[in-house]
Assembly symmetry: C2
Homo-oligomer: 135 residues x 2
Amino acid sequence: AQISLEQDFETQRESDARFRMIMERTNEAFAIVSLRTGRVTDSNTVAASLLGMAGDDLQDAPFAPEFELRKRGDVMEALSAQAIADRPMPVQVTSRKSGTHLRIIPTMFRASGERLLMCRIEPEEGGSIIADSLS
Amino acid sequence: AQISLEQDFETQRESDARFRMIMERTNEAFAIVSLRTGRVTDSNTVAASLLGMAGDDLQDAPFAPEFELRKRGDVMEALSAQAIADRPMPVQVTSRKSGTHLRIIPTMFRASGERLLMCRIEPEEGGSIIADSLS
């Protein structure tokens, strides 16, 4: 059992290392949000910067209060609806701190029995014109 | 010990799920290469596509033979040198299958006692002119 534990620990550390490394090396903004708590479980510096925050200030923060939805409604509800939609659309929001117009592309997934949202966040000007005109 | 094992397994699965999800959701091309074997341990569809391959055909493949180095020398040596450099430069290569001019931005990291290269791969036109003119 001791050897199994050590092997598990090594495998887990390897997964963690790969995950931390890609979060750090990508130029895109990513935040993972727990649907149960509404809080950010993982985020990168690019995401914090887009939201007018420094370094890892987004980590563990409640996600929805960072945004104003550009249509009426609730941010987490809009994200959850798009995350499970057949033809998901980006959710158009404005960052409360930076005032930037942003698009959030959410995908739902499960880990440890919890539902999580993987959110890619893009500045509006970086997005496609088609998606904007359709929404 | 049983509970610990289960907890470890859950944590490991959670790390794996997050890693697989971000690899799938990013628009950037990523491949992780083992320095010991020279083979790709993880890659995404964007990376395979840039190298003229389909789906997960890059997975487990030897990495270096996919490229021609634009300067003289060995691909893995060039990547390793830049991965540990103080001021790393992108490594300029041409994909043998697709003929595309590419830049590889490598970062070295360790997992389970093994040295790995996290490689971000970009088409040349997407890169900055400054980095090209400096090299």
